[in-house]
Amino acid sequence: MENVKDLLMEIKEKSELIVDLAYSSVILDSEDMAKEVEKLEGEIEELTYKIRILTMLAANTPDEAEQLAGILQVADSAKNLANAAADIAYLLDLDISARPFLPSLFLKADEKIHVVRVYPGSTIVNRTLGELNIEAESGVRVIAIKRGRGWIYDPEDNVRIKEGDILIVRGTEDGYHFLDRVARGEESWD
């Protein structure tokens, strides 16, 4: 059952990531990101399938089966959640003339997703996300980094921030403003 636990953890994390990326793709009007959402949707589908098989193999008694049914339900719900999120990203398939105002729908004051550009001379340049411990220190989580033409989605702790990076972050308004000032070099991280 250890395997199922890991798969369930993975599906939960990915289903949360896909929601953030789906909204971000709309806010940034990014078809690249929408493609990543589509890829994640496929991975989540695959995870659900694996969980289903492993869980079925584990049932010995009716009571066990009932408990295991709960696991299937959680996995399935996470998958449904991911599908719903993916549909948000698929709005980008509409012709551009049909959706000129789409990004602005979410660029409201109480929205949690923001974009931060890292300027040369910022104190976060050349430091890893792990060293900075960004989420615990500032209340914002880096959900993706645009570097040149490429993307790093759901970056790991060992990813080093470079000048010119564009960070897609999710979190508090204050945390975003702080990180933005630091990224501009107007304030020190430490």
């Binding site: 059952m1 199922v4 636990k5 890991d6 369930l8 953890m9 939960k12 994390e13 949360e16 929601v19 789906a22 909204y23 009571d63 009932e66 408990q67 295991l68 709960g70 696991i71 339900q73 959680v74 399935d76 719900s77 996470a78 449904n80 959640l81 599908n83 719903a84 999120a85 549909d87 948000i88 709005l91 509409l94 049909a98 959706r99 105002f101 789409l102 729908l105 979410f106 409201k108 109480d110 929205e111 411990n133 989420e135 615990a136 220190e137 500032s138 209340g139 989580r141 979190g171 508090t172 204050d174 945390g175 702080f178």
Partner: protein, 184 residues
């Protein structure tokens, strides 16, 4: 209204996982209650979007609003489905709890001691989410619950806080509640 729907749906997902991790039926019931709120707003939004489309003679704005709202509504349905596992007769399988607990964004709870610096301050004053990464998603006060507290919600000694955030933030959060860490 769309942002409001989005915020409620996010709270629902957080609460649904909280219900599972703490095997708590009250939280699960709240998720179901919030689903009703989502539905109300969903119907209202559809109606307004269509009126707008007719007035403007252009369907696309309404189409996008309705499709977004439909996705958000489906997300909140998934949250209800997750919470529903707790409302069964049988206790959820322990690996469900472990998988939530060990994921990179986890959920924890802690009781606020009298000597804690969180006592008698509002969430806005404390700025807890920005300073620690931990978001208070619900508060249990005596027998009552406060779900989705706002900046103006004051933390009282004896409150049990449910918070969501990075695993790295959990220890500090618990020490703050216990009054062991005096600085946020």
């Amino acid at each position: 209204m769309l942002i409001e729907m989005k915020n409620i749906s996010e709270l629902m997902v957080d609460l649904a996982y909280s219900a599972l991790i703490f095997n708590n039926k009250e939280i699960a019931e709240e998720v179901k209650y919030l689903e009703e709120k989502i539905d109300e707003r969903y119907y209202q939004l559809q109606e307004e979007a269509i009126k707008q489309a007719i007035a403007q003679g252009n369907p696309y704005g309404a189409l996008i609003l309705i499709r977004l709202a439909t996705s958000i509504e489906a997300i909140s349905d998934s949250a209800v489905q997750i919470a529903d596992v707790v409302l069964r007769e049988i206790e959820p399988h322990p690996i469900i709890r472990e998988s939530i607990k060990e994921s990179d964004v986890t959920i924890t709870r802690a009781k606020v001691k009298k000597e804690s610096i969180l006592s008698n301050k509002t969430l806005g004053e404390l700025n807890l989410a920005s300073e620690t990464g931990m978001w208070v998603i619900a508060i249990k006060r005596g027998h009552a619950w406060i779900f989705g507290p706002t900046e103006n919600t004051k933390i009282l000694p004896g409150d049990i806080l449910l918070a969501k955030g990075p695993i790295e933030g959990v220890k500090h959060f618990i020490r703050l509640c216990k009054g062991l860490d005096k600085k946020i």
